[in-house]
Amino acid sequence: MSIALEARGLTKEFKGFVAVNDVNLSVEQGTIHALIGPNGAGKTTCFNLLTKFLQPTRGTIIYDGRDITRMAPAGIARLGMVRSFQISAVFPDLSVLQNVRVALQRRRGDSYDFWRSEKNLRRFDDDARAHIDEVGLTEFVDHRAAELSYGRKRALEIAATLALDPQMLLLDEPMAGMAQEDIERISALILKIAKGRTILMVEHNLSVVANLSDRITVLARGEILAEGDYETVSKSHEVIEAYIGAADE
């Protein structure tokens, strides 16, 4: 199998503090890869480096055979690598339909045409509705996104992300703040959308990703502690220690 996303010697230093230190990571095409670790392990920093929301101090990032280390975050989205956010990323004052349509609108290329009517966007309505149906928000199609509950906002975010039809998804703690039954639903949804796609997800809890991921990388204090499938990682002495050490935070 080929490598979808690769980081070599990825390092991020903030003033007098190394948040991510020499991380080497390979995400195989078509797999679900989880990046986990206790609080302060550098997961989010690592995630922001990979999605280009932060610029690394050292190291290289390669996506789909292309060096993306110096690219702008909007640029990698256009290459088909789309990220999600910990706090549900919707456009609160736009309707549910408009939220998805803004993503579909990217298919036109850039929307710099300020002189045209927005009626031009109606041709995306059917597609947008299909994506909204898929995540079960049909009855909310004309409501403001701000009025949706937490779980529904997350569903809307997923609908908008899928509208871009990305090859690779980077999910930042998709289960954060979710009740148990929502976790199961989101897990099922992630498995469903993983078909034909590569997924890298950041999570706090090992248990959440147990049934979901093909491969797990454990990060602690900015460095890779262990890597392998769930069986290997969950039995690793260092991993148990890192989690127990952090359990009484």
């Binding site: 975050p73 999600s84 736009l94 995540v135 509950s149 529904r152």
Partner: protein, 326 residues
């Protein structure tokens, strides 16, 4: 898949698009009908002043209300364009429509330069950078040869529209100004309701998410900045034709503050708020002129009351009551 929730279903559907809503169309038509008869009821120059400031505030509102960018230097485009238009009409002898266009073009150019240097900053830094550039424009207006220093450019000829129709008469000038400002406001309305406007709102609502969808947000911000500067310039250039004058007042930082005031009082991010805000402020200045320096104090008090009572501006509050965007 569906996510079950315990909350009550959201209750207020919103309009999704479909061009201009019937309500907006009705208001625009009513406004136009009102403006057609207005010069026969009040002093036309006063009505034209309101229209120029309404366009200025609407252009500013495009940047603040829909682009989410608070510029504190919009006098540079308004005043800068009025100087260029006055100079074009007086020295180059251009016809009024060309003079106004050259003013707007100059504002667009100025907006492109200042915009590309300032949009990478956010919040208060953006406001300060735009203010600093506007002060430079003020300095040029004060010191340059062609601007006439403290005197400004006076007795600008009104000329003949397309070289044919004399605008000496206030009523003919009024309809020229009406066409420019009303057309300008309608165009700004279209910008907000275009595919571009849709992305702009998305950026205002959640910039990181817009980036993650693949939008080059700085490019969108620059375009909206230039559009806003251009139409602020169109307003300033038109005003110089009305008053036959370009002066330091129009390029002073107080003018940048005044347009913020108009927009916030009327309701930022609304369609009709800036128009109402401009009308109120200009009317106030006109009728309170006898109080001299007290005008600013009264204006300040009204602003404080306005902000305390109607945080979303007057039109913003009405819009919330009616549960309809205005």
């Amino acid at each position: 898949m569906s996510i079950q929730q315990t909350d009550t279903p959201a209750s207020s559907p919103i309009a999704n698009d479909a061009g201009m809503s019937p309500l907006h169309k009705a208001i625009f038509l009513g406004l136009l009908a009102f403006l057609v008869v207005l010069p026969f009821m009040v002093y036309p120059v006063f009505a034209m002043k309101i229209m120029c400031f309404a366009l200025f505030a609407a252009a500013f509102n495009l940047l603040l209300g829909f682009g989410g960018l608070l510029s504190f230097g919009h006098a540079a485009y308004f005043g800068g364009a009025s100087y260029v238009a006055a100079h074009a009409a007086k020295v180059w002898g251009l016809t009024p429509e060309l003079a106004v266009l050259s003013g707007a073009a100059a504002a667009a150019f100025l907006g492109l330069i200042i915009g590309s240097l300032s949009i990478r900053r956010q919040g208060i830094y953006f406001a300060m950078v735009t203010l600093a550039f506007a002060q430079m424009v003020y300095f040029v207006a004060l010191q340059a040869e062609f601007t006439g220093g403290e005197d400004g450019i006076q007795s600008v000829p009104r000329g003949k529209l397309f070289g044919l129709i004399s605008l000496e008469d206030n009523i003919s000038l009024y309809f020229f100004v009406l066409a420019l400002t009303f057309g300008g406001i309608l165009f700004l309305y279209r910008v907000v309701h275009s595919p571009f406007g849709q992305v702009l709102k998305a950026i205002r609502e959640n910039e990181p998410r817009a980036i993650s969808l693949g939008y080059d947000v700085n490019r969108y911000k620059l375009i909206v900045f230039v559009l806003s500067a251009t139409f602020a310039g169109l307003a300033g250039a038109t005003k110089s034709q009305v008053f036959q004058l370009a002066s330091l007042t129009d390029v002073h930082w107080a003018m940048s503050g005044e347009v913020v005031l108009m927009t916030l009082l009327g309701g930022m991010g609304t369609v009709f708020g800036p128009i109402l805000g401009a009308a109120m402020i200009v009317t106030m200045q006109n009728y309170l002129a006898t109080f001299g320096a007290w005008v600013t104090v009264i204006q300040g008090v009204i602003f404080v009351i306005g902000v305390l009572l109607f945080r979303e501006g007057i039109i913003g509050v009405i819009s919330r009551w009616l549960k309809r965007p205005l």
